[in-house]
Every structure is written in C-alpha cells, then in structure tokens.
Amino acid sequence: MYEGIVQDVIDELGQLPGIGPKSAQRIAFHLLAADPADVRRLASALTELKEKVRFCRICFNVAQSELCRICSDPRRDPTSICVVEESKDVVAIERTREFRGKYHVLGGAINPIGGVGPDDLHIRELVARLADGTVTEIILATDPNTEGEVTASYLARQIGPMGLTVTRLASGLPMGGDLEWADEVTLGRAFEGRRIVSA
C-alpha cells in the first residue's frame, strides 16, 4: 500500500477494464514522473469526456453535439441504416469505407441473463426512424454470437412487416487465409451464406 493520493490513483486505474493491480501501479508511477502538461491534458480529456460527449439524438452514436458527425452529413445515404450494438462497431464499419448510409446504435444486445430486454435497447427509436418511408434498407450488423443473432432475429421480426429490405451481415471466411485453416464453425457458416459467382 502506498500513501494517500498515489494509492487512490492506483485504485481508480485498477477499476478500468483490462488493467490489473500491477499495470495500475506502473501507470500511476509513469504519470508521477511525466511532464505536468501531459498529465493535465490527460486529466482535461477525461473531464471533457464526461462533460461534453453526448449521444446522437437520432442514432445514439457518440457525438459532440445534438447530432453525430454521420447523421449531420448530407452526403450520407438516408435510405439505408446499419444497425449495430455499440459505437465502436460504427468505427469498425467506417474503417471499411464500404457503407455510405447511416447507423443506429442499439446500446447492446438482448440478454436475459444480464437483464437486457428490448426496452433497454434503442429499438423503439429505430422503428420510429422508419415511419416516414425514407429508409428502404436495414442492415443488421449485431455481433455473430448468441445474443447478437437473437437480437437480429428479433429486429427482423419487428421490421420485416414494414416492407423494407432487411439483410444480415454475412459471416464467413477471413480474407487472405487458407481454407484449411478456417475453424469448422466459420467454414460451416460460410457454406450457409454462399452465393453465386457472376461469370
């Protein structure tokens, strides 16, 4: 145990995901030895994180103002919405530069064990976004695990009757890999989602 403030910092850092007591101690002493200006910048970034970052009124992605960067961008295609679990999934899909539509961040997935039901996710808001008929395609990009699959099925049931095109991301083989090294589950799914090759 260290005295007062040093221990406080270690305890606080130790609460963060992926940081154990050893790492917390290392970071604390790193900060203690660092340039005061650097530490002040970190401190203010953390403060601003809670004070200034908000969630987009439309899609619930993280935003600096009422609307996120994507929702306020007129060049984005308003007819297509990609539904994801978390803001970090938006970042992942944006990196591909494949998708030019808009997003909707659910804030998680249906998970009865964790006490998460449809009302705990931004599902009602998604349905409301579809009401005026602008949106014609929904892409369900929830995680390819039990909870994500169930959430996608549930959404498909809610949205399906509205006459939109509802698609699910294909889960398949990683690029640049050899077929023989793919695990059997992935390979099995890739088989299920196979498509016709255009000549």
């Binding site: 009865p112 006490g115 039901g117 449809p118 039990t146 049931r157 059997e184 589950v185």
Partner: protein
C-alpha cells in the same frame, strides 16, 4: 494412433515426469494415491482439453505452482505430432503444436482420440440421465470437434431462454405480465441448435446400437438382448412400428441398421440422409407429431421430473427416427415448446429439448436402471465404452484406450473377456492397484508408480 512420449511438469502430484511409451499394452501398478490416475487424466486432458475428474483447471496444477505443462507426442500412421499444453488456472490454456503456437486450444482437439474406462462408468447405467447425455455428447465431439461449438451454442441459448422464463415468471407472480416479447425468437434459436444436436445424437445412437449389442454379448459371455433407445422430450413420429422398444433392439439387427440410415457413410451430417420417399419428415407426420406433443406435454406438465412423466414422454419421444430431417426436428421442438409454454413460465425452466432427453438402456427387455444386476450393469457400461472404441476405429481414428483401475471392479470372467476385447487395440494404458487384478492376457510393458515416481519394471 498411439502416444510415444508423455511429459509432465507440475501436473497434479508430478513435479517432473518423462515417460516413453510404446504401442501395445502398458500397465501402471501402484497403491492408491501414488499418482496412477493423474497419468490417465493428463492424457485425457490432451485429448479433450478437460479433466474427467474436475470441472476447472486449478486442481491440475501442483500445489504451490503457477502453471502445469503437459507434453504428448502422438503418432498416427507415419505422422507424428507434438502437442504441448500449458495450464494456467484462471487463464486460457496455451497450446503449441509441433513447437508452433496455435490460436485456439480448440484447434488441437481431435488430434488425440481416447476412450476412457473408469470406475465412474457404472453411473452411465445407474446414474442420472445427465451422465448418458454427456456420454453421447463427448463421443460426438471426439468424432467431430465441430460438435463442441453446437453444444455450447445450444447451452448458451438454453441459459438465456431459461433466464427469460424465470424473470417473466417472477414478474407474473408479482402481479405484472412479464416481458415475453423475445421468447418466440429464443424458441426459434433453441430449436435451430437443438435440432442439430438432436439429429447428431439420434444418428449416433443408431450407429452405437449394433455395436453395443455385440460388445455386451462379448463382455457378458452370453447373448442377452440389449436395448439402447434415445428418449426425447421432443416428439416427432408416432408410427407404431417405431414406437418404444427394448423389444425391437432384441431382434438383433446387424450393422446394416446404421448403414441404412446413411449414417455410416457420413456420420457428421445425419440430417442430410433422410430419404423423402420412405422418410418420416413429411408434413403429415409433423401433424401427427403436434397432437402427440400436446398429449405428452400435458402429461408431463404435472410432474416433469417424475419417472412416470418421463416414461410417458418416452413412449412418443422414443420414436424419433434416425431418418428425421433437421427441419422436421426443428418444427417438432417448436411445437413441443408451444405446448408447454404455460408450465415453462410458471416454473422458469425449459422443458423440451435435448437437454432433458435420456438414453434408455435395457437388458432382456427391462430397463437397466433399476432392474439390471451389478454384473449386468457393468457389462452394459463396458459395452458402451467398447462400442465407442469400435466407432472411432471405424472412423479410421483408432483411439488410445485408457483403462483406469477398472479391472478391480469386475469379476474374473469379465476381466478376462474385457482383456481379450481390448488386447488388439493399437495402444492400451492400464492402471491397477495390484498386479493380480490385471489379466495375464494384457501382459505388456509394466511400470511401477510409487509416490509420483514412475519406474519401468521387469
């Protein structure tokens, strides 16, 4: 296949052990508590990435040590593989194959196939249905590692669905309505994974049946009709000729039974083998199935756990045939769930699905559990293991046989017969407390195990 080297570091009682093994029979003799079973456990760990004795890894690491390492050199035909497993409690195990790290421990599953005979096997016959479900599921994974993912997907959906039922039930008891909007979706996914698991188990039972029959006769030394029937909480086909049957198994069907269902040819895809012309996956059958589910569903509702309830369910459920298609099974699970939904909400339990099924074993037309003598029960337990051995062998995956202290449980005649049946395996590793327990037919290399030291004797 066989093992040529086993080396342990801080595994259980062993600080360090390097063992050179040979094909054929090897016997480890030593008093209880000297570390014989630990050897078997280590080999089992390489094969299944788990222990047959404990659920978590912590007890596998020698007291006071941070990690244990198990190394095994496996030879199959003219190819050898060196598998190294680092067991660190509370962390993911690290695995290396031929000195190169593998991304997932699962990737080496199936490199080594084993069939373990242990004193606990009696529970296959006398124990709870869970023991027999595990037997089937473990064998499915040994034959096709992909099944581990199917099983864990099913378990995950089952846990989530049951959590939903519990919270809805609690809400209703408190006067609310309970949020069940997502239940239909959970049902769909449960049926999807459940049908895949169920189809695989049904096909496996068909393949096991003739092998269990002949193995029983060989171990018991007499032709007693044995039955092995899958009893499902899922009802599909109620045609009378397939309904129930210790009697049916008594007709002594030859190997052709498995072949006819096409399962011999492609054991991993039984669902694809349904012949539409003679199959029972038609719409008409599903309709019949619906009414049947309704009936048994109500019968089970009162007391889902009693033997009476189970037997009644079994009457219809046992009829699920090997030719059933996965789609038909999926529909049948959904119909079954629909029929018991009210009870499920009241009790907060999923009542229909492979997690509540059983394997009905019988000897001379009577259920083995409750009727079979001690000797008959042992013969049947051994027959199940021997049938597993035969099945893996037929897959061209000759397993290493592990006989852990099992001879002490058997009378002299069964000992001798068992010894004769396993003697031609590529590799058999036997443990025994005293030399005299091991029949002379299993003469081979002999090691003495004394307080964590293993020395070659004679």
């Amino acid at each position: 296949m066989h093992l040529t080297h086993l080396s342990l570091t801080d595994f259980r009682s062993y600080a360090r052990l390097d063992l050179v093994l040979e094909p054929g029979v090897t016997t480890f003799v030593g008093s209880n508590g000297q570390g014989k079973t630990n050897l078997i456990e280590a080999i089992g760990f390489v094969a299944t990435l788990g222990s047959h004795r404990v659920a978590n890894d912590a007890p596998l690491v020698r007291e006071g040590c941070g990690q244990a390492v198990v190394r095994a050199r496996i030879v199959r035909g003219d190819r050898a593989a060196l598998v190294e497993m680092q067991i660190v409690p509370g962390k993911a195990n690290r695995v290396r194959l031929n000195r190169a790290p593998v991304a997932r421990a699962r990737d080496v599953a199936g490199l080594l196939a084993t069939v373990l005979f242990a004193p606990e096997d009696l529970a296959l016959v006398k124990g709870d249905p869970a023991e027999r479900r595990r037997f089937l599921d473990d064998l499915l994974v040994a034959r096709s590692p992909r099944m581990a993912a199917v099983q864990s997907d099913y378990d995950r959906v089952l846990k989530q669905r049951s959590a939903l039922l519990r919270s809805a039930g609690a809400a209703r008891r408190a006067g609310g309505r309970g949020d069940l909007r997502t239940l239909d979706v959970w049902d769909r996914h449960l049926a999807d994974h459940g049908a895949e698991l169920l189809a695989a188990r049904l096909a496996l039972v068909e393949e096991l049946r003739p092998r269990v029959e002949s193995a029983y006769a060989a171990v018991a030394g007499q032709d007693a009709p044995t039955g092995i029937e899958y009893r499902s909480t899922v009802t599909l086909d109620s045609s009378p000729d397939r309904a129930l049957s210790p009697g049916r198994a008594g007709l002594g069907e030859p190997d052709g039974d498995a072949g006819r269902n096409g399962t011999g040819a492609s054991p991993n895809h039984p669902s694809g083998s349904g012949d539409p012309a003679s199959g029972n996956g038609g719409a008409g059958d599903t309709e019949v199935g619906d009414t049947e589910v309704g009936d048994t569903g109500t019968g089970r509702a009162g007391d889902g756990r009693t033997e009476a309830g189970r037997a009644e369910v079994g009457h219809g459920g046992g009829a699920v045939g090997g030719a059933a298609t996965r789609v038909a099974l999926e529909e049948a699970i959904l119909a079954g769930l629909a029929a018991v939904r009210t009870q499920e909400i009241e009790r907060g339990v999923t009542l229909v699905g492979p997690h509540r099924d059983d394997l009905l074993l019988s000897v001379n037309g009577r259920p083995a559990r409750g009727y079979a003598s001690h000797g008959e029960s042992w013969s049947l337990a051994l027959a199940l293991r021997l049938a597993s051995f035969e099945l893996l062998r037929a897959d061209d995956r000759e397993p290493v046989l592990l006989l852990d202290d099992v001879f002490a449980e058997l009378d002299t005649r069964r000992r001798v017969r068992l010894a004769a049946l396993v003697a031609d395996a590529e590799q058999v590793l036997v443990t025994a407390a005293v030399d005299a327990d091991v029949p002379a037919e299993l003469a081979g290399v002999r090691f003495e195990v004394v307080s964590g030291e293993v020395c070659r004797a004679g």
